[in-house]
């Protein structure tokens, strides 16, 4: 039976547990607003109004000589306005202690539950010694959760925007292959790695796991560097993707390898000093390709050229 591309994409979406883990790791201190605007309890509601307008905030912690003694919110200000009592001291309208507070080092999720439970819009944040160190609002929490979700997606799957499953499902055939072709110039160190970088991005885009994309990219990169270092006229890299495997075929038109077995041995090298300056040419290229692939076949004939076939099996 034909294996659908959907299976290839199975490990594409970031797992729920990863999102969970990230949210569980978030601490109140990472999310809270640290810039604090506070007022003493004998300041007037007019001062609350001015401070809120000036800094576009909706709540002000009230602090006396002993520390936090209450909080005054936009709703409290509205009450004062209704009663035309802007000259009254804050202590008449504020919510006094004991307040619903958050601890800087507690998990954000716990703080969020408390916020919901007590139906408040914001909580003063206290450190281990009970000192006021910040304020955390609904908006802060939601913004930070959205930001972490976005980080999970962008880090793992920058390319989640298109769904390969629909793309391949729409292509009805008895067997579907995706072919990517690249040309690599001889001696072109300045562009060395561009083809492999594109291959890696393409594989991620069609739903390969980061681990698989990395293996293919490393093998393709070593092969690409070989084309740059060793060939007369460069060569081609062809990536053939099917639901069962990824086959990378690298071909050139000479000079050819005199002894393939010798060339496959770790440490065997005929590379130029230029290649060595670049950090290659230590005789590890073919060894590396072999190590990260499932199969490496090499055909070569002097004066004709070389053909590498590198196979990566996809998880069944």
């Amino acid at each position: 039976m034909k294996k659908p591309f959907a299976l290839f994409a199975a490990d594409k979406a970031p797992s729920l547990s990863k999102v969970h883990e990230l949210i569980r790791e978030l601490k109140v201190s990472q999310v809270m607003t640290k810039t604090l605007y506070t007022l003493p309890p004998d300041a007037t509601m007019q001062e609350v109004k001015d401070l809120m307008r000036q800094h576009r905030i909706s709540g002000v912690p009230v602090v006396d000589a002993q520390g936090l003694c209450g909080i005054v919110s936009l709703e409290d200000l509205i009450h004062a306005l209704e009663q035309q009592a802007l000259s009254a001291p804050i202590r008449q309208f504020m919510t006094p202690m004991p307040l619903v507070v958050a601890r800087a080092q507690e998990p954000l999720l716990e703080a969020f539950k408390r916020l919901e439970q007590h139906n408040v819009g914001r909580m003063p944040v206290l450190d281990g010694h009970g000192a006021l160190v910040g304020i955390v609002t609904h908006t802060d929490i939601i913004a930070s959760l959205l930001k972490s979700l976005q980080d999970v997606y962008t880090e793992d799957e920058r390319l989640c925007d298109c769904n390969p499953q629909y793309f391949f499902d729409a292509l009805r055939s008895d067997a579907t292959n995706l072919l990517l072709r690249y040309h690599v110039e001889a001696g072109d160190f300045a562009h060395g790695g561009e083809a492999s970088a594109r291959i890696k991005r393409a594989l991620l885009r069609i739903g390969a796991s980061p681990r698989l994309a990395r293996r293919v990219a490393i093998a393709a990169y070593e092969a690409e560097i070989n084309l740059i270092i060793h060939t007369n006229r460069g060569g081609s890299v062809l990536v053939d993707v099917t639901p069962q495997e990824i086959r990378v075929v690298v071909q050139d038109s000479g000079p050819g390898i005199p002894d393939v077995e010798e060339a496959r041995r770790p440490g065997f090298s005929t590379a130029s000093p230029r290649a060595r300056e670049m950090g290659f040419g230590a005789g590890m290229g073919l060894t590396n390709i072999e190590r990260c692939s499932d199969r490496l076949d090499i055909w070569s004939a002097l004066g004709v050229g070389t053909r590498l076939e590198i196979v990566f099996k996809l998880p069944a």
């Binding site: 980061p210 990169y221 560097i225 670049m278 950090g279 590396n288």
Partner: protein
């Protein structure tokens, strides 16, 4: 260690911050890119004296999020541009590779451990 902690430890400089939150736990030092490709794991710090494009490309292929150049080497503007394009954090150390690695090892960065002995050449 964060890039900030790393540059503080080796009295170096943060040349480009990719903006990703990095907490580096392992490092791999080499001037041989093939060895980086062969042995380094994804997510590691790469310590190298090579400041050309292949160092950046190697990191890109191997999912290495940060490179620390040694011996006071400073990459060219083109290399910085490539690092920005592919999102790799760059730092530089005024110390040699040996001393850079030594300081970071002392500060808690770990290596990949023992490798099997293989005859080369």
């Amino acid at each position: 260690m964060t890039p900030e902690e790393i540059v503080a430890t080796i009295e170096g400089e943060l040349l480009f911050d990719s903006g990703r939150l990095l907490e580096l736990e392992y490092a791999f030092s080499s001037d041989l890119m093939s060895d980086v490709l062969a042995y380094a794991h994804s997510g590691m710090l790469m310590i190298t004296g090579l400041t050309h494009r292949q160092a950046i490309r190697t990191a890109e292929m191997a999912d290495i999020p940060a490179i620390l150049f040694v011996r006071g080497k400073y990459p060219s503007e083109q290399i910085l541009a490539l690092a920005r394009e592919v999102g790799i954090t760059l730092m530089t150390s005024p110390f040699t590779m040996f001393e850079t690695a030594g300081r970071l090892y002392q500060a808690g960065l770990k290596g990949i451990g023992k490798l099997p002995l293989v005859q080369h050449g």
